[in-house]
């Protein structure tokens, strides 16, 4: 076992070193960017074309970036940039400490350290992969199924053609976020990749090896998250509703399918592969869970309103519908629980709020306040059932209900987006405005992601199981993962 552990560690370290080696050319192309392409610069960026590198003060005022079509080498909109910088920070806060605490409060005390560390380590790991190449393959143009490697190691992220852009507040934005620096867009999207990976771990809590978890999550981010994100959000993705050449114009404003259906499904697969926990018990500290749910709620405005990638009407409406759906779902879950079980619980209302956040995510740029209210009621009821009736019926041990809340809530939200979408808000009409076909399109999106996810996740899990093993020994499980795996305990 010890030797296996060493193998794992060596593997991780070698990967890192390899990556570093690969990064060196990028390093060059990154500090030297533009130096080799003054001509390209001159043709593609009219305004600052005359800029002599040595005389930045004499430069003609650069063009402001435009929200409708991408401008090369323009000055970002400071208001939009301010909001997106903020959004990135608060979406990061959703995972650490938000999700870490949301999950940490629901496990037993003997496993809380492992649980919170899982979210933290995933944050580090996914960020490193993102920098290496997953940002590039997810969010750069390439093919409808996967993007290209032109931003591996974030090379040329300021501009492909213009030197000294940072100092002069000039750069070429990603076409998906035309008014802000691409650095900010890349980091904003990174926080989505992080939380998607971290959400999965709700299903595997209290029994998976920490090393196996790292390998699983790393591979999953590369082989599942990155392509799926590209399908739905990539500039040439097959499901991207803004891509005229897309096969299906799936509406997914902030990630109901990419983030929630995706992570919840992967979680279910992992729970099935791992099997049930040996001993279970009530959550050890619902105050931690409450902190986590609250920070998820607060940060989710960055998630949903931030997905407008600007600070204007769309962000405002996304914020309003997010808040309404969340409050409604939290209250609905609480009422349902109160009726059914006789008591309203802290974990219940928190779970309901998270269910509301999940369900409104795909809808948040497309529906209005009343649609949000309906989605909230639905989310509260459906996800309550997902964590109780459904789970009991099938008997899997989805420890912290990543499937029951995220996959179910995400799917419900995605489909209800097809119902409640309002053309005046997001450009696409839903069933309630007569466009019944949109429901079908939404179902296609959900189903495709589900199937792909199931297959690839199972393959990854199998590989990890055969190489380093997925599950801790019974002794470790009974004694708690904190002490055995991390040498730490909470007093």
């Amino acid at each position: 076992m010890r030797s296996r552990k060493i193998y794992g560690l060596v593997g991780l370290a070698v990967s890192l070193m390899l990556a570093l080696a690969l990064a060196l050319p990028a390093f060059n192309s990154s500090y030297a960017q533009g130096q080799t392409a003054p001509a390209g610069n001159a043709t593609s960026a009219p305004a600052p074309a005359a800029a002599a590198p040595a005389a930045p003060a004499a430069v003609a005022a650069p063009q402001a970036c435009d929200g409708v079509k991408v401008t090369e080498n323009c000055t970002p909109n400071s208001g939009d940039t301010a909001w997106m910088l903020t959004s990135m920070a608060i979406v990061l806060m959703m995972t650490i400490p938000g999700l870490a605490l949301f999950y940490g409060g629901m496990v037993r005390k003997k496993n809380v350290g492992d649980t919170v560390m899982t979210s933290f380590a995933i944050t580090c790991l996914v960020s490193i992969l993102w920098f290496f190449f997953t940002y590039s393959i997810a969010f750069r143009g390439g093919t409808p199924l996967i993007g290209g490697l032109d931003r591996a190691f974030l090379q040329n992220i300021v501009s492909n053609t213009f030197k000294a852009g940072v100092a002069q507040n000039i750069g070429t934005p990603n076409s998906l976020a035309p008014t802000i620096p691409e650095t900010v867009y890349s980091m904003f999207q990174l926080t989505f990749a992080i939380i998607t990976a971290a959400l999965i771990t709700g299903s595997i809590a209290e029994r998976m090896k920490f090393s196996a978890m790292l390998w699983f999550i790393g591979l999953w981010t590369i082989f599942v998250y990155s392509p799926v994100a590209h399908w739905v959000w990539g500039p040439d993705g097959i499901f991207n509703s803004a891509n005229p050449d897309a096969k299906f114009h799936v509406l997914d404003f902030a990630g109901g399918t990419v983030v929630h259906v995706n992570s919840g499904t992967a979680g279910l697969m992992a729970a099935l592969m791992l099997g049930k926990r040996k001993d279970i018990g009530p959550p050890h500290n619902m105050v931690l869970t409450m902190i986590g749910a609250s920070l998820l709620w607060v940060g989710w405005f960055g998630f949903n309103a931030g997905s407008a990638v600007s600070a204007g009407m769309q962000a405002g409406m996304a914020m309003a519908v997010t808040h309404i759906a969340t409050a409604t779902a939290g209250f609905t879950w609480m009422l349902v629980e109160w009726f059914v079980r006789g008591k309203p619980t802290v974990i219940g209302i928190c779970s309901g709020a998270v269910a509301g956040l999940v369900a409104i995510t795909p809808a948040s740029g497309f529906v209005g306040p009343v649609g949000a209210f309906c989605i909230g009621v639905a989310a509260g009821i459906i996800c309550y059932w997902g964590c109780t009736g459904l789970k009991r019926f099938f008997g899997y041990d989805d420890a912290l209900d990543a499937f029951g809340v995220h996959a179910l809530g995400g799917a419900a939200g995605a489909i209800l987006t097809g119902v409640f979408a309002v053309e005046a808000y997001g450009g696409t009409a839903g069933a309630i405005e007569g466009n019944v076909g949109q429901i079908l399109t939404q179902c296609v999106g959900v189903a495709t992601v589900f199937v792909y996810d199931v297959v690839v996740t199972l393959i990854i899990l199998k590989i990890v199981d055969l190489t380093i093993g997925l599950r801790v020994s019974e002794d470790v499980e009974r004694g708690g993962l904190d002490l055995a795996l991390h040498g730490e305990t909470v007093q």
């Binding site: 629901m106 018990g281 009530p282 959550p283 629980e337 059914v340 079980r341 008591k343 619980t345 974990i347 219940g348 779970s351 309550y384 964590c387 109780t388 209900d401």
Partner: protein, 112 residues
């Protein structure tokens, strides 16, 4: 010498301690314990699943006293800890061979 061990309801602790003080008991040791008995436990809920928690929080009080004091002590505790409802707890009495006060080395009843 005897040692009196009483398992009582937690919120009765202050009353019992005050009552013992009044009859001259100068020292005691308290432990947080959980008890299982006739008093039925409760259930905790987690997302629709109920966990039966059969162990209830109780307080254990240990008082060492001389053999002639022991009845007084037991009565006092019994009176102060009683609510008349199930779960009030038990008092156990056992014999002690020795008692030593660490600070002074005094022993037996002088040590209490």
């Amino acid at each position: 010498m005897k040692i009196v061990m009483a398992v009582i309801k937690p919120f009765k602790l202050d009353e019992v301690r005050d009552a013992l003080s009044r009859i001259g008991v100068q020292g005691l040791t308290v432990t947080e314990v959980r008890g299982y008995g006739r008093q039925k436990g409760h259930t905790e809920v987690y997302r629709g699943t109920e966990y039966a928690v059969s162990l209830l929080p109780k307080m254990k009080i240990e008082v060492a006293c001389s053999s002639d004091q022991v009845d007084k002590v037991v009565e006092t505790i019994a009176a102060a800890a009683k609510t008349g409802q199930i779960g009030d707890g038990k008092i156990f009495v056992a014999a002690l061979d020795h008692a030593i006060r660490i600070r002074t080395g005094e022993s037996d009843t002088a040590a209490l």
